[in-house]
């Protein structure tokens, strides 16, 4: 596994695409394989059986019949090379199999060989390679396992492909095929199993969650003098907040959670968290499993019904927002029991911007003057979802909120933001320490862009709206000479600039205290 020594890439002046690929540069990278218990919990076979070849082709045939995208993408790539310089993992590792088309070809060569006339014809002649086909061998499954876990399903390549071929779709299919053959990924499958048994990725049980929320309420009251609540399992509340479980304790995530709570408090809405759906993340998407993704999504529907809420709002999380925005209606709808006057589901930033525009929030932007901000567009939000009414709202709304609460904001290099944003390096179910080398190297393009604005504009902090991005940057920033706390939540910024009604300021206790009284 990932034990080989490696060097941290050096940040160059510009993002440099390796001209000469280094074959097998990261062939040794492969995350831990799921243990039998984790395979079992998700309904996958616990080990590879003797008829693995038949099973692989069966699974592939099944998916080809279920997903038009996969079928079309397998056929229509012309190998133009437009995607070859677009993947952050290729840029960071120079391994040619991290070029999107080469990654796709690991599956496509099997498709060509067993599902197309050309592949069968040249295969029968003993020259499948002529048409990019290959006979399926056992070690090819291991190679697929390795390289399909060096893709963060970020869809950057799909922006540039003249046919919109999305490597994420192919990675998801490949991971599902492998899982069905008995080769699942430990990190993802273990987490999904925890969601089923406990309710969230972290395995935080209801009692612990209650304590955590109480602790946060105390912190908020100590800090502001206002009793801001973080309600749990409140029946009849208007809003159900679904947020990534990292928000409950990890830094800087938790500062974001306190930000949501303060915004809700000031907006005067009734809201609640749910212990049975205390997780926005849906790793079912990462492993490409519709069934698991659906099962995880249904918890949210059940929680909403059980608590009798009218609205569902999602906290800051990238892939969770993709599943929520793009898939939730499909997977767990129809949501005819919710208030149809609000988007279903709604993003916390849509809510917060609405309150800012209504003027319900008392903001003092100067409270964030100690920072110069930039914003990292998270891939799933940028390229797989939307916020607001108009295309591109996913870019303008977070920036509008940041600019409403901060005086100092600059964007990074235009080729690294909006739809061209680079993955943090840890998305798509790869946020595990057995892939640390990959995560560090994959972060290179973003680190380069950050370095540039740091030098040119004195940027001190980068804001993000994704739990995975935040955890990933916390981990890799120090490797590139930054501080781990330079990554912040957007609602952390909202929180620090928001002055609550009746707030007691630490500096002038008496004065505010009198006012409050």
């Amino acid at each position: 596994m990932a034990t080989k020594e490696f060097t941290i890439p050096e940040i160059q002046e510009y993002i440099e695409v390796p001209d000469a690929p280094i074959p097998d540069a990261t062939a040794h990278l492969s995350p831990f394989i799921a243990k039998p218990m984790h395979q079992e919990a998700l309904g996958f076979p616990v080990e590879v059986s003797d008829d693995w070849k038949e099973q692989t082709l069966d699974a592939m045939g099944d998916l080809l019949g279920k997903y038009r995208g996969l079928r079309v993408f397998m056929d229509i790539c012309v190998k133009c090379g437009a995607c070859t310089d677009k993947c952050h993992y290729y840029i960071g590792t120079a391994d040619p199999k991290n070029m999107p088309v080469a990654r796709q070809d690991l599956l496509r060569r099997v498709y060509r060989r067993y599902f197309t006339f050309a592949g069968k014809f040249w295969g029968a002649l003993g020259m499948p390679g002529f048409v990019g086909a290959a006979d399926l061998k056992r070690d090819m499954l291991d190679e697929m396992y390795s390289y399909y876990h060096q893709c963060s399903e970020c869809r950057r390549c799909s922006v540039f492909c003249p046919y919109g071929i999305d490597t994420a779709e192919i990675t998801m299919a490949a991971r599902e095929i492998l899982a069905r053959v008995g080769i699942g990924q430990k990190y993802d499958n273990e987490i999904i199993a925890k969601v089923y048994t406990i309710g969230n990725n972290l395995g935080l049980p209801e009692r612990a969650l209650e304590d955590t929320l109480e602790g946060l309420e105390e912190d908020l009251e100590d800090e502001t003098g206002v009793a801001v609540k973080l309600p749990l399992n409140v029946k009849g509340a208007d809003i159900l907040l679904i947020t990534p479980s990292a928000d409950f304790f990890a830094e800087p995530h938790v500062d974001g959670l306190m930000g949501y709570a303060k915004v809700f408090h000031e907006a005067g809405v009734s809201w609640t968290l749910s212990s049975s759906a205390s997780e926005a993340a849906n790793f079912g998407m990462f492993i490409g499993s519709y069934e698991n993704m659906r099962k995880i999504s249904l918890r949210i529907r059940e929680a909403a019904l059980e608590l009798g809420v009218k609205r569902i709002i999602f906290g800051e999380c990238g892939h969770a927002w993709r599943v929520a925005y793009s898939f939730l209606n499909t997977l767990a709808g129809p949501f005819d029991f919710l208030d149809q006057n609000y988007p279903i589901p709604q993003h916390i930033l849509e809510f917060t911007l609405g309150e800012i525009e209504k003027g319900t929030l008392n903001i003092d932007k100067s409270l964030n003057d100690d920072m110069v901000l930039t914003f990292h567009d998270s891939c799933n939000v940028a390229r797989a979802s939307r916020m607001g009414d108009k295309p591109g709202g996913q870019f303008t709304i977070p920036r509008a909120v940041i600019k409403a609460v901060c005086n100092n904001y600059v964007d990074m290099d235009p080729d690294t933001i909006y739809e061209k944003t680079f993955c943090c390096g840890g998305g798509g179910g790869l946020l595990t320490d057995d892939l640390l080398e990959l995560r560090i190297k994959g972060g290179l393009p973003r680190m380069t862009a950050l370095q540039t604005v740091t030098q040119e504009y004195g940027v001190t902090h980068m804001a993000a709206i994704c739990a995975i991005c935040k955890s990933q940057f916390t981990k890799i920033l120090p490797y590139y000479g930054f501080d781990m706390d330079q990554i912040v939540s957007v609602h952390q910024l909202v929180s620090s600039a928001l002055i609550l009604t009746g707030q007691v300021d630490e500096d002038d206790d008496t004065e505010s205290g009198e006012e409050a009284a």
Binding site: D75, K79, G132, T330, P391, E419
Partner: protein, 238 residues
């Protein structure tokens, strides 16, 4: 020989039409269970039509990706398109001479574009790595078709009237009058075109019909407003 070519073209036409039709049927029958447009995406059907139009006519995404590939690819495809229109004169009389004349220069756009793409395939390390022998073969095939065609237009003129009457006979199954001018370049040209037609439905040339079925480009971004469920997925909830 005239008859052999006629049969070859009957078979090639059949393979092309039936093969592509079957592929289109397969694509349209395969469900797209999830909304996966690459965003920002249009929110309406008319917006999607415009996006697809820009993609198919201007190669919008490729333009964003790499300018040199775009230049060569666009020159080749537009050249090919013009050449195809011009070849209509062998099958019908609808084309005014004023169009047929100038369109002949499109062959150069096609040849230059293909040459650029071929050089890129050799010269750029990354692109060479992802190229299979068939990828070179395809470009060479198209290049030979273009060069042989251009030779008949610009170097050694082909008997246009003869070719026209041959294809008229071919279309009307008039076996008696199937007389192909005895021109070697013409025969090479026709043979290569027949090969291209034959491999169309079993190769990456399927990108032409396939792009219209690409869910990242042909879906509207409206999942919150419209519930989208595939038939096989619907069954899971029963």
């Amino acid at each position: 020989m005239s008859l052999a070519f006629a049969i070859l073209f009957y078979v090639a036409t059949l393979v092309l039409v039936v093969g592509v039709a079957l592929k289109i049927m397969q694509y349209s029958k395969t469900p797209a269970p999830l909304k996966i447009p690459t965003t920002p995406a249009p929110t309406t059907t008319s917006g999607v039509v415009m996006r697809m139009f820009r993609e198919v006519v201007f190669f919008e995404s490729l333009f964003k990706a790499t300018i040199w590939t775009w230049i060569f690819a666009w020159a080749f495809h537009m050249g090919l398109f013009a050449v195809l229109i011009r070849h209509g004169r062998y099958f019908h009389d609808l084309l005014p001479a004023a169009i047929v004349g100038p369109l002949k220069y499109a062959a150069f756009a096609m040849i230059i574009g293909l040459t650029g793409l071929l050089i890129r395939r050799f010269a750029v390390n990354r692109v060479r790595y992802i190229s299979a022998p068939s990828d070179y073969a395809m470009l060479i095939l198209l290049l030979l078709i273009g060069i042989s065609g251009a030779m008949m237009t610009f170097v050694d003129h082909v008997d246009v009237v003869g070719v026209k009457s041959y294809f008229h006979a071919w279309m009307t199954f008039d076996i008696e009058n199937l007389i192909l001018p005895s021109d070697m370049v013409l025969r090479i040209h026709l043979f290569l075109v027949a090969v291209l037609m034959l491999i169309f439905p079993i190769s990456k040339l399927l990108h032409a019909p396939g792009i219209f079925f690409s869910p990242t480009r042909n879906q509207a971004d409206n999942p919150r407003e419209v519930r989208h469920v595939a038939e096989w997925a619907e069954k899971l909830s029963k």
